[in-house]
Assembly symmetry: C2
Homo-oligomer: 456 residues x 2
């Protein structure tokens, strides 16, 4: 782990993701499948740092020495994971601080999400932690997972997946459901009494493992600082955000969930635009956009070429383009000249390139290949949508891998869901099940490419 080039703020957040040593305060003795024992998760996943379980009623768990109390721990452990009943949390944090611990994840719940008493308790907790100089994630948090340097503070184990995507969430359930779906490093901020989105963004800004950042936001605290940091970070790495609790009834539900206030939806739109944050509407879009940002080169203009064996589907793709502020490219005369011999005289090549008749006469693969190669070097075409079935994917992949122009595939048919999974496993990453989703991904790529150009 090389920290020389990281900023001071990042170094303060690092122990939450990559601690060199961890104290587990209140770890249960029970182990095994149904016990959800955090210590067991850490041992099993191959966490490379030092582990210090604390439990007054055990000498040893899973063969590891157990400490009877915090006071018996060595000094300067990097992180404490605290899972004691809520009334003991404040004294536990104090003891940790005295032992030189500077970071703690509070798993315990019953704070701001649980009525007035919990709210008061949370206020006392953060006041105490600030006085003692210890940073807190939570309370009511699952903490973090890191697949790159195997670590987890919850019953959710890290996985072998190493996508350069980070997830920052305010909900344990969301975190659990979405972590593996999008990311390989993530944190549940829970009630977010101290460490917040801005802090984690400063860490991810300089994190060499991460290229795309995804935020699940229920509500913000310290909005101004968040926007300043996000605006800076989004010039280097794309930040996607899903804002939940957009309708009034959902906003009310949030108050009793993470204790945050969910503000008016329009304000969030404006704020995200200011900060260069890309808003995604749902998990389909999240996956679609992430794929494009990770696997496509920058999109330098709005002009899209379409290759299709079907006129009817091309029309759907054209609809999708214009709804996303993209446009149909006008092909250069060189492209038309190159392709003219394949196409019937009464229907010369033009965009969308409807290649079925040409393919019937000159070989389907041949013509598809010729069309794609022509569009790839056409200076009037900025991106390409290939409408294609399973058998054409390999041809598209061979020709378009590594080229500096974004190429996406719209796959159709009953088994699209499964086919897409297979294609991804075979290494083709940017295929989409509908033209709307392909166009949306390109549109976001265009906006982000614009932002990068502007700040380079």
């Amino acid at each position: 782990m090389e920290w020389k080039n990281r900023n001071t703020e990042a170094e303060k957040v690092r122990p939450f993701f990559e601690p060199k040593s961890v104290a587990l305060i209140g770890v249960p003795r029970r182990t095994g499948r149904a016990a959800f024992n955090i210590l067991e998760t850490l041992v099993t996943c191959g966490y490379p740092g030092e582990l210090y379980p604390v439990n007054p009623n055990a000498d040893s768990i899973l063969g590891l020495k157990v400490y009877p109390q915090i006071e018996s721990l060595p000094q300067d452990i990097e992180l404490a994971i605290i899972m004691v009943p809520r009334d003991m949390v404040i004294s536990t944090v104090r003891s940790c601080a005295k032992q030189g611990i500077k970071a703690a994840i509070i798993v315990s719940d019953g704070f701001a999400e649980a009525g007035n008493e919990g709210l008061k308790l949370q206020a006392q907790l953060i006041k105490q932690a600030q006085a003692d100089g210890i940073r807190l994630v939570g309370p009511n948090s699952l903490g973090s997972i890191n697949n790159f340097h195997p670590f987890s503070s919850s019953f959710l184990p890290p996985s072998p997946l190493k996508e350069p995507v980070a997830l920052v969430s305010q909900s344990g359930g969301f975190f659990e459901g979405f972590f593996d779906f999008v990311s390989s490093k993530g944190i549940d901020l829970g009630n977010m009494c101290d460490v917040d989105f801005a802090d984690v963004l400063e860490y991810l800004e300089v994190d060499p493992d991460i290229k795309v950042i995804f935020l699940h936001i229920e509500g913000l605290k310290q909005g101004h600082r968040f926007l300043q940091v996000a605006r800076r970070v989004s010039r280097k790495k794309p930040i996607l955000a899903m804002k939940t609790g957009r309708t009034a009834p959902a906003a009310r539900a949030i108050a009793s969930h993470s204790g945050s206030l969910a503000g008016q939806d329009e304000l969030y739109n404006a704020a995200f635009r200011y900060a260069g944050i890309i808003r995604v509407e749902n998990s389909d879009e999240l996956g679609d956009v992430t794929k494009a940002l990770l696997h496509l080169p920058r999109l330098k203009g709005n002009r899209v070429g379409i290759i299709t064996p079907t006129g009817g589907c091309a029309i759907m793709a054209v609809d999708a383009l214009y709804r996303e502020s993209l446009e149909l490219a006008t092909l250069s005369s060189k492209t038309i000249y190159t392709l003219r011999d394949y196409f019937p005289k009464w229907a010369p090549p033009r965009n969308p390139l409807d290649m079925l008749a040409a393919g019937m006469s000159h070989g389907y693969k041949n013509v598809y290949k010729a069309c794609l190669e022509a569009l790839l070097i056409d200076p009037r075409v900025d991106a390409i949508i290939c409408i294609a079935g399973w058998p054409t994917i390999k041809t598209i992949q061979e020709i378009s891998t590594g080229v500096p122009k974004p190429v996406v595939v719209w796959m159709q048919g009953r088994w699209t869901g499964e086919a897409l999974s297979w294609i991804e496993k075979l290494g083709y990453k940017t295929a989409y099940p509908t033209p709307e989703r392909a166009a949306r991904a390109l549109s976001v790529l265009r906006r982000y490419s614009n932002r990068r150009e502007k700040y380079e």
Copy 2:
């Protein structure tokens, strides 16, 4: 095939889907995988009727007797499939009519989709056909596929799938891409010079194989008649429609595709509303809505109950509900009373039913089951969204199969696409990958249930 109870209009369209005898005019001699020979498709698929190939240059194809000319055919064959060059189409249609054939699919292209000359030719064609009393599908059409009584007029074979869904399209490519995805009986109307959406709707209205009708519309002809027929049919069976060519550039592309005029999008919205047609935006939505209409009971109100192991995801579901004009049900006091002992004192049961804490104490499956059973009999709850992972599906399926209240599942996680495929194969049909898609399906089900109630 029992036709007694069918209307006269339906009987005129029937030969296009279930012909008892077929003449194939201009069938090529070449057979085998790359030949796309229609005769071969029909022989291979087990078409139960009589086949009459016509080709002056062959005596026999695939062991079947070939007729040298139309004039040598027996009288009163039900359907002709015509695939001769465009300049021979009109004389071929005349000869067929003389032989007593009353229905023909014109596969040949080069008509309204191919400039002025083609347009003129198409006008002559339809004039002649009307004079001769022969109904036409096409030109520029793949014709029909029928999985129920195996038949196909193109190189696309029927499949074993028997979903009670029909597809009526104006595009061969769309038809090819979407037939298997949604339907088991379908037709490509091509340039739609004669048989149109209204005619096919009259056939499908009384078709016992079909419960849901899906239209892919580029443009309409005879709009008034279409709306009257659709308004009547939609009282008996749901009609879904995807209107493509919504943006101006796409509308221009349509002119050269099926030769239709694509009108203003807003007009279509109003017309669809009048006719009780459900508009779908894309193929994801098409699949989602179809599943709900086929596999869920009617939805009698707007009040939705949510069962969830995660507060964060429940909030997303609540957002999705209110965006679709549905609402969060207020649970009856009986439900709250029934469930009270599972829930912690400080967080009594309420909608959304966040059951994680309760499940940790009293067994996850137990509590999920109790929640679902309580909501199923709660008179204040009209439908239920279950937020669940793979292991809970079986419990949900066992409890909710056959109940008179719609239950949908929102499944999450990285492998949702594959998991959904598997779940469907195992018999659970109404699971969705995002809360937005689940809510949308329920919302459409509500609108359609309303319409059915109104006309019963």
